[in-house]
């Protein structure tokens, strides 16, 4: 590959005769001929059709129910109460009745849904301190400036957890009661833990270390609660130290910002250990009882309870199966058009011959 003649001589400055430098590298020159393109389109259409049908059948097996409780039932009063921040410390509870038409078999998931709440605003998403939430002592006492104005309170005490995301945490408590035949009501038991991502719960959010020698409250000494919260972060779940402080499941679920203004977040999973819930959620009348705290009127939002079953594909999501079916149809139409053009107008490839 080196120069054939070195130094002086009539051909000494000739470039290398290598495949790379003379652009003779071995290569594949593909061409869009009818033999490849037309079968590709037909096969693509078939694959999309099969996928669409399969996904549609899978989604048909899911059940979903939404209960908008913003101002339904007796919640009108609470809705009006929460319109202004003056009475924010006054408790308000209300109930909404709803009906489950068919039994929801298997595992049933309960979500709280918000509409028109933009967790995807740029300044909102920047307003958090991940270093503080991972338990670093420095960042606990000196929150990031991105959290402003939710970094220090009026007395210059650092806020833990800082930022607008934590501050606006969803704080309604939802209790679902099942109306039994004899008129009494039993509470539908929910698992309220294990609802966050594994990496979030175990790596991304960590309490400041206590060395197991002193209580969590002491680790948060010198900080104060976020302005909109009623309890400090170390009292989010007094009963379980694995769910208290920064590693509280509800806090973690809220801190994972939604991409779009209408979203739902996991609240709990049906506990199927006992009673009428061993097979799932039985059909019948239910009552939703709410500790109504989260105000939605200022941003014209709505709140709802969503109950859903899942398959390997997820919850009830018709978009993908229908999109696949529509795509399959369009590709089939294109394939037929291309074949017709190729046969009738394109003279079966005669144009390509000279």
């Amino acid at each position: 590959m080196g120069k054939k003649q070195a130094g002086t001589g009539p051909l000494s400055r000739r470039p290398d005769n290598s495949a790379f430098k003379q652009q003779r590298l071995p290569a594949w020159s593909p061409s869009l001929t009818a033999n490849t393109v037309l079968p590709t389109f037909y096969i693509l259409s078939l694959v999309c059709l099969l996928l669409g049908i399969w996904l549609l059948i899978t989604v048909e097996n899911t059940h979903e129910l939404k209960v908008d409780y913003t101002n339904a039932g007796t919640c009108e009063e609470c809705f009006n109460l929460r319109k202004s921040p003056n009475d924010s410390t006054t408790a308000c509870t209300c109930t909404v009745s709803f009906h489950v038409p068919t039994t929801f078999p298997g595992d049933v998931f309960f979500y709280y849904g918000l509409r028109n709440f933009h967790q995807n605003l740029r300044r909102y998403m920047d307003s958090r301190d991940d270093a503080q939430m991972v338990g670093r002592k420095n960042n606990l006492k000196t929150p990031s400036s991105y959290c402003a104005p939710f970094d220090y309170d009026a007395d210059r005490n650092p806020i833990a957890p800082c930022g607008a995301v934590a501050n606006s945490m969803f704080n309604d408590s939802l209790t679902v009661m099942y109306n039994l035949m004899d008129g009494s009501k039993i509470q539908v038991p929910l698992y309220r833990k294990g609802i966050a991502w594994y990496t979030d719960k175990n790596v991304k959010f960590r309490n400041p270390s206590t060395n197991n020698t002193f209580p969590l409250q002491q680790a948060f000494e010198g900080t104060t609660r976020p302005l909109y919260w009623q309890r400090p972060v170390y009292e989010l779940d007094d009963t379980d130290s694995n769910n208290n402080g920064f590693i509280n499941d509800d806090l973690i679920v809220w801190m994972r910002e939604a991409a779009f203004p209408n979203f739902k977040k996991l609240y709990g999973v049906l506990n199927r250990a006992q009673g009428p819930f061993t097979e799932g959620l039985p059909a019948g009348n239910y009552t939703l009882s709410i500790n109504y705290n989260f105000p939605v009127e200022p941003f014209r939002g709505r709140k709802e309870l969503v109950i859903s079953t899942v398959t390997w594909f997820g919850g009830q999501n018709y978009f993908l199966p229908i999109a696949y079916l529509v795509t399959s149809g369009l590709i089939l139409v294109t394939a037929v058009v291309l074949t017709t053009v190729y046969v009738k107008v394109g003279k079966r490839g005669k144009n390509m011959e000279e």
Partner: protein, 306 residues
């Protein structure tokens, strides 16, 4: 002599007995007049072709990448929130999509050099500005915008109501970011694969390598090692594993790819069928010739698909 070089596109100097003054003033120089034929018909032609394909692809991939933010603006209150991870934005043009188009710009050939010399009429598209003009430019842009529409609205439609099989919703920002970014890289890689007309080993290495690099860097940056060093910088912890482990996400990416690429294939096939250029005809003849030279039907060097 001076006025003709001012009116011309390139200046060519011939170094010889009369000295090297022309060589110093010219863009290209060689030693014998007969080399001018190869300079124009082979290298000049290829250079024009490569430049036009490179430009069109560059505009396309950047419009596809950027316009997604425009559509997202309607859903994020126009607050200029980016759709992708900050590091993806930095590395997209430098690492994930630069080498394949560079390889195409260096090595692409539509017809082999012998055919270029045999058919001087192949030089005409360069003279008539056929491969990159206002019309071609707008087509590239339109394709980029169409791709951005698909790349935003298909993940939006699917993920806004999707959940994992363990009930946890997939509608969070980081899942959406990873899905859209992965779909984008795959779609533009398929597009460069369609645009590349001459696949050398280097093209293969760059295209597959860029895809591989994307996934490697993605998983590296979403790992707990980097998070534990710089939590605020690498806050996408766990997203790659959680997102790309979901069948819903891969089905979404596959659908987006099909919707982006199928119209391109259809248009190009129609164009080849109804209005083939001389270069297409020569290329096709070359294909047929090479197939005839291999009667057993073995696929060898330079034989194309079909």
């Amino acid at each position: 002599c001076f006025s003709s070089s001012a009116a011309a596109h390139i200046g060519v100097g011939i170094s010889g007995q009369e000295g090297i003054q022309a060589v110093l003033a010219s863009d290209y120089s060689f030693s014998q007049f007969r080399f001018l034929q190869r300079l124009l018909l082979v290298h000049g032609r290829w250079s024009y072709l490569r430049m036009c394909r490179f430009l069109c692809y560059f505009f396309y991939k950047n419009f596809a990448f950027t316009m997604v933010h425009f559509w997202f603006g309607f859903f994020c209150g126009f607050s200029a929130q980016t759709v992708y991870d900050q590091y993806f934005i930095t590395l997209y043009n430098i690492v994930y999509t630069s080498l394949p188009v560079l390889a195409m710009g260096l090595f692409d050939q539509d017809v082999p050099e012998q055919r270029s010399l045999e058919y001087p009429k192949l030089y005409e598209p360069g003279q008539l500005n056929l491969l990159f003009n206002k019309r071609e430019f707008f087509i590239c842009i339109a394709q980029g915008i169409y791709t951005s529409v698909v790349l935003f609205f298909i993940p939006y439609g699917v993920l806004s109501h999707a959940t994992q099989s363990n009930g946890v919703p997939l509608a969070d920002y980081q899942t959406f970011a990873v899905t859209t970014a992965t779909a984008l890289v795959i779609v533009v890689s398929v597009q460069i694969a369609l645009d590349t007309g001459y696949w050398t080993a280097i093209n293969h290495f760059f295209i597959w390598g860029s895809l591989g690099t994307y996934f490697t860097i993605l998983f590296a940056m979403h790992s707990s090692i980097l998070f534990n060093i710089f939590p605020k910088q690498f806050h996408f912890l766990g997203s790659a594993h959680n997102t790309l482990g979901q069948p819903v996400v891969w089905l979404t990416i596959a659908l987006a790819t099909v919707i982006c690429i199928a119209p391109v294939l259809a248009f190009r096939f129609l164009k080849l069928d109804l209005k083939p250029q001389l270069s297409d005809t020569v290329r096709y003849t070359q294909l047929v010739l090479q197939k005839k030279q291999k009667p057993c039907g073995r696929v060898g060097r330079g034989v194309g698909g079909g």
